[in-house]
């Protein structure tokens, strides 16, 4: 029987080691896998390479992994927000490396990784600082930048509904990077708000087919005071 469900969050996060590359779904707070992120804090791994559009905010979720010094590299499109000043300091101190991608390039690189495309050309960033050092090429007289697939060891993804085969749906703008990341990591770990019976999801409305999913856990909310001491 194919059953992606994990009994505990420890099982869901099993095998993640120091130095792992981890995709984290979400745009702002929408679609953040906060239960899995809390599990990562409890697990206490470090030296992580996080791939996430933003760096998080406040003293919860992804931001706490930064504040706890668990992350040594961030690939993102927008490292500002609440944490902007700290991130600038960490980069200057040398404890954090930040790679900024244009947001659409980042999304397409992640999709490429999941879909077996090693590299593609994009018009985005041509002639700008973010294309410096990158290979460029003209097609029909227009300049393009060569971008490569962006893989990860693990993806931590928040979904709305899931079944035991790993079929997933998302709620509104919580979808964002989730379907792309679920496909692009060696092991994708999904927290779902609701785990439904096989067959309960209408086949035409499933966004992520279970074949892209490795592990599944029932999500629960993480209370503010569970994130640890605020600075």
């Amino acid at each position: 029987m194919l059953d992606r469900r994990c009994e505990t969050i420890e099982v869901a996060l099993d095998g993640i080691q120091d130095g792992a590359s981890i995709m984290v779904s979400g745009f702002g707070d929408a679609g953040r896998p906060n239960y899995l992120l809390k599990g990562m804090i409890d697990k206490g791994v470090k030296d992580l390479h996080v791939i996430s559009n933003n760096a998080g905010n406040g003293f919860t979720g992804l931001a706490m992994l930064f504040r706890l010094g668990m992350i040594s590299k961030l690939t993102c499109s927008f490292p500002r927000g609440d944490l902007g000043a700290e991130i600038t300091r960490w980069v200057r101190e040398g404890s954090l490396t930040v790679e900024v991608n244009p947001q659409g390039t980042m999304a397409e690189r992640i999709r490429a990784a999941g879909c077996g495309i090693p590299a593609f050309y994009t018009p985005t960033a041509y002639g700008t600082k973010l294309a410096e050092g990158k290979e460029t090429r003209e097609f029909n007289g227009v300049g393009y930048v060569l971008e490569t697939a962006l893989h990860a060891d693990y993806a931590l993804v928040h979904a709305d509904k899931a079944d035991r085969w790993g079929n997933l749906t998302y709620k509104n703008l919580s979808r964002n990077f989730s379907p792309l990341m679920a496909m692009a990591a060696d092991v994708s770990i999904i927290e779902a708000d609701e785990i439904v019976e096989l067959g309960a999801l209408e086949p035409n409305t499933i966004v992520t087919p279970g074949v892209c999913v490795n592990r599944l856990i029932q999500c629960r909310p993480v209370a503010e005071n569970e994130w640890g001491v605020a600075a």
Binding site: G28, A30, V91, P102, Q103, R111, K171, L173
Partner: protein, 225 residues
């Protein structure tokens, strides 16, 4: 002579958005445009995080964590809205499907180059978000910005000296002083605010301006008629 408020610039720009257009409004000044969309037109707002058909801000207490715009502010959905993932969202952008994107700007050059994401060439965490994708992808880029910086420096220039967002992408600029098309022959002023002279506008601009035949008055649409 009174420069337009940010709201008045947005209101002026909004008049030029055609019925049926799909429009991305960048974070900052462009967001204001949503408040002045002309009645009776179907204008579909796109947000990078995966929606077409954004509706207005919800009443307080009715926010939904799963309904936010690219600026992470709460939104609603219109009837007819659609949701998609980030690859599709930027496929729509990059593939040239949006009729218009309005972006803020730090500098615009006379060849249409845009600088709007980083004032500092050495910023270690310069944060671009989706601006570069929008700059190359939308069918037209209109920039909405103050004509001059706070210290009076020109922002319409022969060449940008801040890091570029995109090359040759800007089609039109709406400022607190004028509406200016970017043509293959450089800046062409089509409207100026009441009382502004060509000489004065030129003095506040860092590149040569041409003036359209019949260059009109840029109205303040936030004032009662």
């Amino acid at each position: 002579m009174k420069p337009l408020t940010r709201e008045a610039i947005a209101a002026r720009l909004a008049q030029d958005i055609d019925d049926g257009w799909h429009v991305n409004l960048g974070i900052g000044m462009p967001e204001q445009v949503a408040n002045f969309l002309p009645e009776g037109r179907d204008i579909l707002l796109h947000s990078e995080n995966g929606i077409l058909g954004m509706g207005p801000t919800p009443p307080e207490g009715e926010e939904d964590e799963s309904l936010v715009n690219a600026g992470k502010k709460p939104i609603t959905m219109l009837s007819g809205a659609s949701i998609f993932d980030h690859a599709m969202s930027f496929g729509i952008i990059r593939g040239g499907h949006l009729e218009l994107c309005c972006l803020g700007g730090y500098q615009v050059a006379q060849n249409g180059d845009l600088a709007n994401w980083s004032r500092d060439n050495d910023d270690p965490i310069a944060s671009v978000g989706g601006a570069m994708d929008l700059a190359v992808g939308a069918q037209r880029i209109w920039v909405i910005m103050q004509h001059n910086s706070k210290d009076g420096a020109a922002r319409l220039l022969e060449t940008c000296d801040m890091p570029l967002t995109g090359m040759g992408c800007v089609k039109r600029v709406y400022t607190d002083l004028a509406v200016i098309d970017v043509t293959k022959d450089g800046f062409l002023v089509t409207e100026m605010i009441d009382g502004m002279t060509a000489e004065e506008l030129q003095a506040r601009t860092g590149a040569k301006l041409r003036f359209a035949d019949g260059c009109g008055t840029m109205p303040d649409l936030t004032k009662a008629a």
